[in-house]
């Protein structure tokens, strides 16, 4: 059984330190204004950012916009990246903020209460050729209220630990856990057939 394991916080092995120094070189290059380093940064991280974004935004068009804005912001504020976390984590933090404050701000009609976005929320240009299951998963996530989507994406897509999620989102651990709990319950309710199909 394949399991996509993406290491967000890897510690202490040689490959990690090699990755970190490559990353440091790239960041140094970006800071120096090296166009090749900028291109490398964008190309390395935009695919994964985009996938995260589409789950966070619930809509492909918004996701592309969000990633675009994230990268531009990140490059312009690259001086603030201290290297305490991985570059991707930092970028993802920016993405969260971009989605919160830019993408959602455009949806002028959004009410203030916890009303989930309609399950059939569709943006022009969403690819209809995707499998039903993929669409169902995306729709189920998109149907969650935004703050629950965040924890779901960070936990089950970016595979972060609760403490890290709490830090990334500026929440207490307890809040993160309760949101995960609620979100998991809703997702389980929305996706039982699909989930069971993939059961062990």
């Amino acid at each position: 059984m394949l399991h996509y394991k993406v290491n967000v916080n890897v510690f202490g092995d040689a490959r990690h330190s090699q990755m970190m120094s490559e990353e440091q070189d790239m960041v140094a290059g970006v800071r120096a204004g090296d166009a090749a380093a900028v291109a490398r940064l964008v190309e390395t991280h935009s695919p994964r950012l985009l996938r995260s974004a589409v789950l966070l935004c619930g809509c492909e068009a918004d996701a592309h916009d969000a990633v675009q804005e994230t990268l531009v912001t990140a490059l312009r504020l690259i001086g603030r990246f201290r290297g305490a976390s991985s570059l991707y984590t930092w970028l993802h933090g920016i993405l969260i903020n971009v989605v919160r404050h830019t993408v959602r701000a455009r949806k002028l009609h959004a009410p203030l209460e916890d009303v989930p976005e309609p399950a059939d929320h569709r943006c022009p240009g969403d690819d209809c050729a995707r499998t039903d299951e993929a669409r169902a998963v995306r729709a189920a996530v998109a149907a969650l209220p935004p703050e629950y989507r965040e924890v779901v994406v960070l936990r089950y897509f970016e595979e972060m630990k609760v403490d890290d999620i709490a830090r990334q989102l500026g929440l207490r651990s307890g809040t993160v856990k309760s949101r995960l709990h609620y979100a998991a319950a809703r997702l389980r309710a929305a996706l039982p057939p699909e989930m069971q199909r993939r059961g062990e």
Partner: protein, 735 residues
């Protein structure tokens, strides 16, 4: 251990972040509790399945193929950075409204917090023990995540006012007195923390809507902030107000913005002056066969227009100088032949916005000189350090821009530095380019403050340039300012006269404009004109790099002086013509042969493009006409040509001009597709016509501009053309 507690530890257990003792307790409980064991197993399975499902569901998402270009375009396009993008806790809110919200939220929070949690002392002394750790805990978290609450300390951009809130500095102790900004920003940080930690939606930062319903939500997750004392609340409120007042007086500024582009409220250009542009009209060729103008390589208008559009406003019409927009870009003209300073290219094709007309393009290409072959530079930086320069997009950006330039200097170059503010002073004697450390150190120490005394500074700068004059070298004063030259009304003319006089000594002037709000466009252009120089508007580090480094040859080295064009139109083939742009570069016909008349300069590697829109003689359009002369009979010469272009320029140091001519035959009007250069440059021209809402715009439209520009983008290595396209797309939304 109870089931409730065991299940509460579920996630941490799976994460592996429990202590050994906690883990042992959990496992002991699981051994004897079926319910919890099932719950744990279910979560494990669910996590695996959901993770895989999410990856599968998004596996086909691919970034757009041109994402690198778009990002570069976004960078160069100076899209305002949203204040809250860089870290959840790093919330120095710039927006006026968000601060009002912050004040309201602070106050509500304290009031309700007092009644609900009852942990607030009503003493007037600020808390030290209680509040400091609570607040510091908030602030510590950002440090761990690597995103400091402090302002950027990037080596290439250095903000004079570093606002750092370290983990040990409790928020209540932020001073109320100036600098008001950090205090205000700190309160904004509190507001930001409140709002973001409650998970409120981003749009909550629009004032007024959020405050009342948000209060209960804010409280649920922000108990830690409820312990703030009343007095610290008042201090924050004071500083919010102080910040607001200061902000109301000055353009919006973000202390943290490393790229130093300003996100300003839309209509704040009351102190920006633009001279009225009276567009060139169609002139009948029979009565006005000669069109004479001086070339212009300035491209500040493009950067200026871009600034407006990226801030979601259309630029004022008089800020749109079409010739400067066209000349922002580099075109593919051939290099001149051996011995010549530049080459001339002409091309004609049907006019895109008026198919009955013909569009003629004239391109000059200056000789490209490798940087290593450039003559030695004798540069004097003349830097405005008056109080108005004390914003992140001004003096700090000046320093960053000049730093880029200093790094390119060679040992044979020399640099001196003069500042002016209140008084003028030399901060660095002329220093060779090999001693970069000394030059950079002097640059580093510059601080803004005082009123402007531009006149004295310029005199001093020219004096130093003359003292270190290099024969055969590039002697130049580089003025960096926000345009706020308050030397007194009577002295303006003096200033101009002095610059004109110095021009004769062979010392050129480059003017770099920074910031907005005080950007006195017409004055700066005038100075550059009179000083045989050029000027550029620097709104970002990328623009600085483009102007000062990439084009250093051109910006700094002049290869042709007083370049004038005179076009003679043939009335047999041309009924009327109109020069697009160059309105304030027009010369009288007799000025063309008058070598004493000043005109524009052409720098190494630079190119200049001009468009004429021509009404062919076959057209049925009529124009105002003049009676035939009684005492002179004009005899038209038989010719198939459309026009003849004449150029005059002076080699540097010479006083007599050289004449070149080139004719354009009517037969050369292209039926087939014009060159990529023609198509792109005409798209830029068309965009200018649309922005100006020109009476001559014909059927010009943004969609035509986009269609043509996209197809003519070409290789576009630096992404400038892509940036243009993106800007036009944004402008489309503003109409």
């Amino acid at each position: 251990m109870t089931c409730k507690r065991c299940q509460d530890r579920l996630y941490e257990y799976l994460d592996g972040t429990l202590t050994r003792r906690q883990r042992e307790n959990v496992e002991a409980h699981l051994a004897r509790c079926n319910g919890c064991r099932a719950a744990y197993a279910a979560e494990r399975v669910f996590a695996q399945q959901l993770t895989r499902a999410l990856h599968d569901a998004t596996a086909d998402m691919q970034p757009a193929p041109n994402v690198v270009f778009k990002v570069n375009a976004g960078l160069a396009g100076a899209t305002p950075v949203h204040p809250l993008h860089t870290g959840v806790r790093m919330s120095w809110i710039r927006l006026h409204k968000a601060l009002s919200l912050g004040i309201v939220a602070c106050v509500i929070l304290v009031v309700v917090g007092v009644t609900r949690y009852g942990t607030v002392r009503r003493a007037t002394a600020p808390h030290s023990e209680d509040t400091a750790p609570i607040v510091a805990h908030n602030l510590e978290q950002p440090q761990k995540n690597g995103a400091p609450v402090a302002v950027m300390t990037d080596e290439s951009l250095h903000v004079k006012r570093e606002v750092s809130v370290s983990a040990s500095a409790a928020l209540p102790q932020v001073p109320v007195v100036a600098p008001a900004m950090p205090a205000g920003a700190a309160s904004a940080a509190v507001a930001g923390q409140i709002a973001t930690s409650s998970g409120a939606r981003g749009r909550a930062f629009v004032a007024g809507e959020m405050a009342p319903p948000a209060a209960p939500r804010l409280l649920r997750s922000s108990a830690r902030l409820s312990a703030m004392s009343e007095r610290s609340e008042l201090m924050l409120a004071d500083s919010c107000v102080a910040y607001d007042n200061r902000r109301a007086a000055a353009p919006c500024v973000d202390v943290c913005d490393t790229d130093a582009t300003v996100q300003a409220p839309a209509r704040r250009f009351d102190t920006e002056d633009y001279s009225r542009i009276y567009e060139n009209e169609f002139l009948e060729a029979r009565n006005n066969p000669l069109s004479t103008f001086s070339i212009d390589v300035d491209s500040a208008s493009y950067a200026n227009v871009r600034r407006f559009i990226t801030q979601n406003t259309l630029p004022p019409k008089d800020a749109v100088r079409i010739e400067e927009m066209i000349n922002y870009f580099r075109y593919d003209y051939p290099q001149p032949d051996e011995g010549h300073a530049f080459s001339i290219t002409t091309e004609a094709a049907p006019c895109p916005w008026n198919p009955e007309h013909t569009l003629v393009m004239i391109g000059l290409q200056g000789k490209q000189i490798a940087v290593s072959n450039l003559p030695p530079n004798n540069l004097v930086f003349l830097i405005d350090v008056s109080g108005s320069m004390d914003e992140p997009n001004k003096l700090p950006l000046v320093k960053a821009a000049l730093r880029l330039l200093v790094n390119e200097l060679r040992p044979q170059d020399r640099v001196a530095m003069v500042v002016y503010a209140g008084a003028a002073g030399v901060v660095l004697e002329s220093t060779p380019g090999s001693d970069k450390a000394r030059i950079l150190a002097a640059l580093e120490q510059l601080q803004a403050g005082g009123s402007t005394a531009g006149g004295a500074g310029i005199q001093l700068a020219y004096k130093i340039a003359k003292q270190n004059f290099m024969t055969g070298g590039n002697n130049r004063v580089i003025l960096a300012t926000d345009g706020d030259f308050n030397v007194g009304a009577s002295s303006d003319a003096e200033l101009v006269r002095m610059i004109e006089e110095k021009r004769g000594d062979g010392i050129y002037l480059t003017v770099l404009g920074f910031g907005m709000g005080n950007y006195k466009d017409n004055k700066m252009e005038q100075l550059a004109d009179k000083g045989n120089g050029n000027y550029a508007y620097i709104d970002s580090l990328m623009e600085a790099k483009k102007g000062l480094v990439n084009e250093m040859g051109g910006t700094l080295l002049t290869i042709a002086n007083d370049v004038k064009l005179q076009i003679e139109f043939n009335p047999a083939t041309v009924k009327a013509y109109r020069l697009i742009g160059y309105e304030n570069r027009m010369l009288k016909a007799e000025d063309f042969n008058n070598d004493k008349k000043d005109a524009g300069e052409l720098g190494a590697g630079h190119n200049v493009t001009a468009f004429y829109e021509i009404v062919p003689v076959s057209s049925t359009q009529t124009f105002a006409s003049v009676d035939a002369l009684k005492y002179q009979a004009t005899v038209p010469q038989a010719s198939d040509e459309l026009l003849t272009v004449k150029f005059r320029y002076k080699r540097p140091g010479e006083t007599n001009s050289v004449l070149l001519t080139k004719a354009l035959g009517a037969a050369l009007v292209k039926d087939s597709e014009p060159s990529e250069t023609f198509r792109f440059a005409s798209a830029v021209a068309e965009f200018g016509l649309v922005l100006r809402d020109s009476e001559f715009k014909g059927s010009a439209s943004i969609s035509n501009v986009l269609a043509r520009a996209r197809k003519a983008k070409g290789a576009d290595h630096e992404g400038y053309r892509a940036e243009f396209i993106r800007m036009v797309e944004q402008a489309e939304l503003l109409r």
